[in-house]
């Protein structure tokens, strides 16, 4: 989807256990939900 909007050079960082120890942890675990950093560049014209 990011590339569909005209971005290039898309990279994704390591998973972070965003919800570990929080009330939302069981829900997050059930769908393997983690936080990620993303980076992408708008193509030069």
């Amino acid at each position: 989807m990011i590339e569909d909007s005209g971005f290039t050079d898309v990279h994704i960082g390591e998973a972070v256990d965003t919800f570990g120890g929080a009330q939302g942890e069981p829900q997050a675990r059930s769908f393997e939900v983690y936080g990620y950093a993303f980076i992408a560049r708008r193509a030069s014209e």
Partner: protein, 201 residues
């Protein structure tokens, strides 16, 4: 509502506002997600940068990752923070771009905007401003930004393609989108995706 959206965007926006009003007004409460300084430490933010901020700038932080972990902003860059909340990431960004840079935080929750503006005023950060707006309709000129940041916001938007299109519009050619968000490794059933209560926890 276009037929390919799983939920009504307006209904979702109102539920998100309700949730984040609580985070702005009562940050000491327990939510389904972590908040504040413990969360910033968990997500790997630079300790010195966080320690330099007043509690008011950090206590309502409710991000899901670290948008600065893959790239540090450069001095003098112009930055848009999509869904800036109480301003935590905007203030971190302001420190990285320095006084010759500029940061615009955009948020749709009035309580968050008021909190972030008061913090900016208290810090004397005149290169940081906060404006009312939606991620799908950013109040920023075409090609204004060197970088766009966001943290845990795009997953709360019904039309993600519209958000990415809008971010593309405000970035200058060659500009960088660096954001943090959640992703699931296991598929979520369609009936759950249509359950708006699950979007905001």
């Amino acid at each position: 509502m276009t037929e390919d959206l799983m939920v009504d965007p307006e209904v979702l926006r109102e539920q998100v506002r309700d949730k984040y009003r609580e985070v702005a007004a009562e940050p000491e409460r327990t939510f389904h997600f972590h908040t504040g300084r413990p969360l910033a430490a968990r997500l790997g933010y630079e300790t010195a940068a966080v320690d330099a901020l007043p509690d008011r700038a950090v206590e309502s932080f409710a991000g899901v990752g670290n948008p600065f972990s893959l790239r540090r902003l450069m001095p003098a860059e112009r930055v848009v923070d999509v869904g800036s909340g109480a301003g935590f990431d905007s203030f971190i960004a302001a420190g990285q771009v320095g006084p010759t840079g500029q940061v615009i935080g955009v948020d749709m929750t009035i309580e968050m905007l008021e909190k972030s503006r008061e913090t900016a005023s208290g810090l004397g950060s005149d290169h940081v401003s906060f404006v009312d707006g939606f991620a799908e309709e950013l109040p920023v000129d075409d090609g204004w930004a060197d970088a766009v940041i966001s943290n845990g916001v795009i997953n709360l938007c019904a039309d993600k393609r519209a958000v990415f299109d809008e971010i593309h519009r405000v970035l200058k050619p060659g500009g960088v989108l660096q954001f943090a968000d959640i992703a699931n490794g296991r598929p979520v059933p369609p009936e759950a995706l249509r359950d708006i209560d699950l979007w905001t926890g």
